[in-house]
Subunit: 408 residues, 4 copies
């Protein structure tokens, strides 16, 4: 996938693309059918039905166009699967499911891949930032507050505080549940319970619950009982994605300041045509940071939309708010992956200019507080004013180390 108006979109590859989601939805139907067979509700002839082989990326367009009739693409998908499957399999496809089950669980499956990718990116960045914090532990620079020179610091501390934000984003992602969502027509698992009852099972509801469990296991999703109108899983995922763009946006906001020619303490990695201009040959623009900031500016309102949708979820399937989630989640997810990839590239190749940092520090009056403190105790100021930078860096490196270990 590419997007003329979202440069870098291709970095997200086919994650959450229409074909990917189609495949995810088919995987849900397939796992469910397998579960029906395993539970003895659907006949053995359905074993190994290759539903995935029945649909193709090329089906997306027609399914998408038809999806308006039912308000979602599942009705068309089920019709298509039933049409293409063998007669016996056909009869059993989608039994016990409702559209929402397939869409929600399909989205979660695609989200799982997004989250995995993001965690890899974050782990890479944590490594890169640990190196920067270590190397520049003692590289002096100005700490700036409210745009003005404040006190001395080191670039290592800045990298360490960036790292803290990235570690926070990692931990938020890793705490996410990405659950299966299967409840049937009204969230009561009635159809499979009926099937089990009619088949004479002593505990038909228990069979339904087991079907959900085994489908979750097959798909590699977390188990959760139906959450058709309890959308906290979706909002938590959205918040975690925005948590990522916050962490990167803040780094990029520092970079766009520090690469200004009058400050010139950092440069973006130089690579090929990156940063060129259509009219000014001499320019080198901090294009990675700019594109990351773009994502960070536009992510929070998308997260808010997911919350608004959650708050308006009425009945046993909401009348519009649920439908607002899907594409919002996709846009947010892909943009997060793109920004993450750009941030990894940015941090891996970030050029640090210690001499310029030293020069700017030299030009700044940053010892006002130290003078006040020394006067307070009637002493001569000590030889430096870097405070606890080493301790802060060490603490940050410790947090980082635990995560990097998990991603060898």
């Amino acid at each position: 996938m590419t997007n003329l108006l979202w440069p870098g979109d291709q970095r997200a590859g086919e994650l959450m693309s229409d074909p990917t989601l189609l495949a995810s939805m088919v995987a849900v139907e397939s796992a469910w059918l397998d579960a029906l067979v395993a539970a003895g509700l659907a006949p053995d002839q359905c074993t190994g039905a290759d539903l995935a082989g029945l649909v193709h990326a090329a089906d997306c367009e027609l399914l998408a166009a038809e999806s308006e009739d039912g308000g979602n693409p599942v009705i068309g998908l089920v019709a298509l699967l039933r049409d293409r499957a063998s007669a016996e399999v056909s009869r059993w496809i989608h039994r016990g499911l409702t559209s929402q089950d397939v869409i929600d669980t399909g989205l979660m499956l695609a989200t799982r891949a997004i989250v995995d990718e993001l965690m890899l990116q974050l782990a890479e960045q944590i490594s890169a930032l640990s190196v920067l914090a270590t190397i520049h532990r003692g590289t002096p620079m100005v700490a700036r507050t409210l745009t003005q020179n404040a006190v001395p610091t080191t670039f290592g501390v800045k990298a360490a505080t960036w790292c803290n934000g990235v570690v926070d984003a990692y931990q938020q992602l890793s705490a996410l549940a990405i659950p299966v969502q299967i409840g049937g027509a009204g969230g009561t698992l009635a159809a499979t319970t009926e099937l089990a009852a009619l088949a004479g099972h002593p505990n038909p509801a228990g069979i339904s619950v087991e079907l959900v469990q085994s489908t979750a296991a097959t798909l590699g999703l977390d188990l959760r009982m139906p959450w058709h109108t309890t959308r906290s899983s979706v909002t938590a995922i959205g918040d975690a994605f925005v948590g990522c763009t916050d962490a990167w946006g803040r780094i990029a906001s520092d970079v766009v300041t520090l690469v200004r020619p009058e400050i010139a303490e950092l440069s973006e990695p130089a690579a090929g045509n990156r940063g060129g201009s259509s009219s000014m040959p001499q320019k080198r623009n901090p294009v990675l940071s700019i594109l990351i900031r773009r994502a960070a500016i536009s992510a929070p309102p998308l997260g808010a939309t997911l919350h608004t949708a959650a708050a308006l979820a009425n009945d046993e399937r909401p009348d519009g708010s649920w439908h607002a989630e899907w594409e919002t989640l996709r846009i947010l997810a892909r943009r997060t992956v793109v920004a993450g990839s750009q941030c990894s590239e940015l941090l891996a190749g970030l050029e640090v200019h210690p001499a310029q940092m030293a020069k700017n520090l030299g030009n700044a009056d940053v010892l006002g507080e130290q003078r006040v403190i020394a006067e307070l105790v009637g002493k001569v100021p000590s030889g430096n004013y870097f405070g606890a930078v080493d301790a802060l860096i060490d603490e940050s490196l410790d947090r980082a180390k635990r995560i990097v270990k998990e991603h060898p």
Copy 2:
């Protein structure tokens, strides 16, 4: 275009699609080149250069992928045009322009088509609502406030107040300026002024201004001097789009209530498979209203993103906020067109059930206020309590008529 996660997306056709935007950007380059020739700055050999013929929808993908280097697709587009044009034309392409000029003006050109389509939709809806307000001028129903029965009203008044909202949306759209944005590298029109100066023009800056004027005229856009960091045109457009989805969302919010089986005063138009369910054969879901509400719920945060971007616009080209606008505007624009088309269909075929309205009204105690008023003046209540419904309907029809006249 279709979108598996945004059912109905195909209603927006190719409006603002990647190929459409590519063509828009080429149209900008082309109009500008023509202007350079007409002003005598570029040589006559450039006359009639068919830039549009040099690029194809198939170029979108590569241009999009390359766009990350410069942060936008124009550098790649200019390279491609120069590569494919004749040598003489090639030398003159994009002279005096900067990427932002091409993107901003290209987006405005595509926006112009969106706005035209929306105004047609709104005019259709105003016609349909005028008919509903006229036919049901005297169809009694309950006025509900805070979910409870309040006083009697007529469905004609409801249609008239819906119409007022749609008329407001129309007027907001029709007041929009959709301007050309051309300022050159730093917003000073320096390159063309230099060209004119070197060519010996007595008023070289005047030539630059005329180039902008004639480009606006060629493209059918409003004239405005460079607004590279004054983004009020973009926010006004976004606000007007959200104004549309507000007007429709409010109608749809009424419809999803009034089609509930216990109320049953309205039905969505019955057509083909619309409103079907994947598991419950008996259902008929108000799918148009649901999809309209989806758009209405997700539009305001997109409008907000455009404002945030406008507020953060620094320097002579912002470091991220500008880049956040493009895709946000596109998503908002296309969704607005889709929702408008759905609302037109909804209103054209809306089924009104006067008998059920009368029945619900009969079951409701809605004369409490009338009793109080009559007691206040010591009289017997009058024969009805419909207030000024006719006057309100007439006033709304008058507003509507003026607009319908413009769209025969």
Copy 3:
């Protein structure tokens, strides 16, 4: 009013404070009662009833606490007015109105004062910016794009483009309708129509419409028929407020960059303790710009809330979305006034440092484009590269002049 967490809040004085809104709501009741008397519906004894004298700022707290019962403060207010008025007046207070009429129209009355204040602020700023654009018409500085040096410009052009944004905000405000909203219990003006009918009026609905007209005239508000669920007036006002903070936010975003010590082309006005630090005696922070940016960052989501509320407005009085508007509008309105006042102060005293601008320009390579252009036509570059700055400034000054004239 002051607010410990919103420094500068006192600049908005009592605009839209609880006491002001209480007075506004009483003014609505009062104007309506006068209209009833003038129309012969209420008895002459109600003439000149001094409702405003019956309530006091001290009533706010109790009314606010009681407001939860009815969901709004009007029930309590009406009870209080009736309790304190003479018997004859008491019987006629609020007849024909509903809570929503009083709240909506009361809010519009308070909004009117906000808009008037904002237009004064904007006119002041337009004057100040016109002066800056004129004085610094020829003050050279670097045009920066994507954080990097691009081409030469002048500070006059920057001031002129700032001015263009402020003029846009002014025009958006001045185009606002700020309408009366009176519709009675269900938006049908039934109670007064009943009163007129029982009194034997030949056209009782016409009397109701006249009551709305005369109330609008008394209150100095625009006329509009009931818009209880057509909330476009509110969203337009919200959008216009955000339009203001966008215009100022963008100026402040430039200032926070240009006051950085390494750039140092601007300083905020030096006044008293402004810009001091609690720990660093040497600092001078650009506190006005920082506080303006704060407002600009937080305004767009508030505007979005108004739109969401508008889109969800169902029935004849919505079940929650209407209630979300009031405080959102107030917060947005007051913050806009505060930011406007801060921006006026900022622009009135902005210190411009031409020597530093020249120095930064001298250090920058900004003639790359000019060289390319000159090569293109095989000539030696002209003596400067300021393009059409004078023409752009003149065009901006022209727009400004028309507005300044209206505010002598």
Copy 4:
């Protein structure tokens, strides 16, 4: 505190009011001073300095007005404390701190009280919902999807799914870290490190870290190294608050539907004047649900503002985004407490009407799916179609039980 435009505001009492925040900020200064003494950096005479006694609620107004100079109220607060304290104490107040430390940590202290209150509310609601789910385990009603009748369910399941959302909100809150934020002027703890160095401590940075630790312990806050520009703690808190309003908003969205007179399956608790109308004596409006929905509609954009602020956090103290957080967090926090209190009242007194539920179910065709399923296996449909409702309720009650246990 009361708020004329936010009915119910008084439910939040003085939580996060200006006086409460003033006291919180003084508590921070006080805990820090104690830590300085305990570490031997400040003299023993400062022991037991009663800073809290030096300021009063009445100081808020002046401090707020003056806060604009420094951009925050701490400069004025420190001046006031130093002015009122004894000479020896005065000299040592605020040494090593910066404004941001006091504001951030003061806000966290006030947030701690908010979170505690919310957890109590949520636990109450979980109890109430557990009772409803248990009592109505077998109370049949219609499951509605996309506004239409779908399949049978029981009200117990609805209560259980509401409960799941509330439990999610509880768990999100209970997982929050609410940390101390102390970093000194530039986030390096330089001043106290200098003090310790000048006093001859062998590990002066270690002393600084210990000061932060002991301050956190004194204040009952979580420990975290300086997060002046790593705002994930703030966004996580905001997200958790919005998580609460989501959970409640969704309940309220169900209630406003089910109390409609045509449906009439639920009533809000009847109490005093709650739900009355200013013009229609017969009405009983679902005012609690309406006010909860109001909060749920307006919360997500406030959460988004906190994220935007986090993403824009540059330098060692940001130039506007930090300032946007404070009041946003307060508004969101107080509204969340108000909505939570209203939701507790709603759930504690919610009236359920099983007969009406049965009647609506009887009128609905909800067995379409069951017929299809029975046909599929060639059997007669079983006696009911409630699926796994008991299992789902049990699972929800289990989750609830663990939380209720913690709040005896």
